[in-house]
Symmetry: C2
Subunit: 339 residues, 2 copies
């Protein structure tokens, strides 16, 4: 399956195909340029090796697994590697791994020589369903996620669902939260798949979730308007994630929780809860609401604004944007949505 | 005087006006957003103070003067300052200083939150004539200049020629080399001004030099084709600059030298030499040609390419691009152009 992201300046293909990683050399022309593969030590080595075998001039950089790796120091490590290996604007960076690797390697490609080619090969459900497309690259700084980065589109995104076989159950489920989100904001049928299917049709889910994101990003690449819809579940989700710190709930788990208070309709909220429970995602107060509210207050102070734009879903497949005060958000954190 | 840079996505004004710095608050709407002024300790403090006085919520960061400051560590310093002061996408970074400050602050603005507003107030001839417009931002890494950065356009460029009064003679002259370059590649009248005028008409020179650059950048923002023309004098100039290291010849002085072997016509070369001498720029072998050739060879190895595109000028106001081998470049380094 293939999707094409059509943006003002760039267009690129998103390929979803079992075994795609072993065909990357041909698909992405890796033989005629230098290739730096960036991966992490939590990703099976075989995946990076599969890519390297298809290069005539490939090198590999392995980062430590985890969000803590997404920093300026590792960015410098990637940039120094590109420099010492003599990479030029004709060469390419290939990310093989999850969102951490993709965000960091993508940002390195964005700023090395003011931009060289970047290919993203996501190997987790979270990155295959969400973070690998859309062109957001970044690193964290002083505990703030994704605060330093670039909008930088990949040359191609190659999604090989076979790589998901090696994920732990919890990581696998984690990414599904973003697919549920995509269904709720843009594809009722996708949401219903989670309700009705016992054996989830993985490729259809990937295709439908990416299609929702693609259509939104095409309308608003730089997050000036409708792209905000992709943040459904993320405002409160981020507060919960900050409260948890590293080692707590995963991103998708926090998004799952964050969606619930943004669904005012009780019947729909019950349906969503049922789907999350079926998947094995959290639905109740597995976090400290008071501490999460403090993170919201901190955000408020930083933004200097009285309201934030939140995304609300009243029926699957559509959303609306709503100005919400921080006081209202704090109230939502303690609401019966998590009961 | 005002020029407007018209690019595909952004347009912005370049204002050239004595005393403009003291009107920046109004011109650039500094009262209704947070302002971070980035400057260095070689720039008179009064310039940054003039800007800060016009802000309701302004802070200042002073970097050490010199090219050595243009690194990832100082980039992090600027980014951390933006973060700790709670800057958002509605706020602005203002550079007050030369190319080092402009390149670094511009790159910080480009990647903080994936891009916040940037205003450039160049205070040296080199930055007023050349580096402040065109959207190239960057830092150096492991001794390689401008290897990490972004194409990122400022919101406005405000050029106050009064700030040049405090420059040393050598710094003043240094920037004029880029104006001579601009005349040679794109404005015969500008070149002739240097030949005929004893009292140089500073504002006209700024306006004409910036116009040449503007027209070229408008055709090729991302350096895919004609923008290469701006590199006239820079291929050999950079080799000389690398050979010199920090503390040697200035950038403009190296560009002045680098233009000479790219002018095959002996009569024109003699005219250019006369202009450079009149300005007080170097025209003969003030560098080690053998060592400079080694830097060229190193570039060759890194690029993996057999030729480089060089810019040639046969008569003032026009240029042509030519594929040149590294062997030919080495020969030019030892040619009689410097005799």
């Amino acid at each position: 399956m293939r999707l094409t992201m059509r943006l003002q300046e760039d267009s690129y293909d998103i390929i979803i195909s079992r075994g795609a990683l072993s065909r990357l050399g041909k698909v992405a022309n890796l033989m005629n340029r230098k290739v730096l593969v960036v991966t992490d030590d939590g990703v099976p080595k075989a995946y990076a090796d599969t890519v390297l075998e298809q290069c005539s001039d490939g090198v590999c950089l392995v980062l430590p697994q985890g969000e803590a790796s997404k920093n300026l120091s590792n960015l410098e490590k990637v940039l120094s590697k590109l420099l010492s290996e003599g990479f030029t604007r004709r060469d390419v960076v290939v990310a093989v791994g999850g969102g951490v690797v993709g965000d960091l390697a993508g940002f390195a490609a964005a700023c090395y020589m003011r931009g060289i080619a970047f290919i993203n090969c996501p190997t987790t459900t979270l990155s295959q369903i969400d973070s690998s497309i859309g062109g957001k690259t970044a690193v964290d700084l002083n505990g703030v996620k994704n605060i330093v980065g670039a909008f930088y589109q990949p040359e191609i995104v190659v999604i090989d669902p076979d790589t998901l076989d090696t994920l732990t159950e919890r990581h696998w489920v984690n990414g599904m939260a973003e697919a549920v989100k995509a269904g709720l904001i843009g594809d009722a049928r996708l949401f219903e798949l989670f309700e009705t299917e016992d054996e989830l049709p993985l490729e259809e889910i990937l295709y439908r979730a990416l299609s929702v994101k693609k259509h939104i990003v095409e309308q608003d690449e730089r997050e000036a308007s409708v792209r905000a819809a992709l943040n459904f579940g993320h405002t409160i989700g981020h507060a919960i994630e900050s409260e948890q710190g590293l080692g707590g709930l995963y991103h998708g788990e926090c998004v799952a929780l964050g969606m619930l208070p943004m669904i005012a309709d009780k019947r729909l909220r019950a349906r969503v809860k049922k789907v999350l429970e079926k998947l094995g995602l959290p639905t109740s107060t597995a976090f400290d609401a008071k501490r999460a509210a403090e993170y919201l207050r901190h955000d408020k102070k930083a933004s200097g604004s009285k309201t934030v734009t939140t995304v609300r879903v009243d029926e699957p497949g559509t959303y609306r944007l709503e100005k919400t005060t921080f006081e209202e958000l704090e109230a939502l954190l303690s609401s019966d949505a998590f009961a």
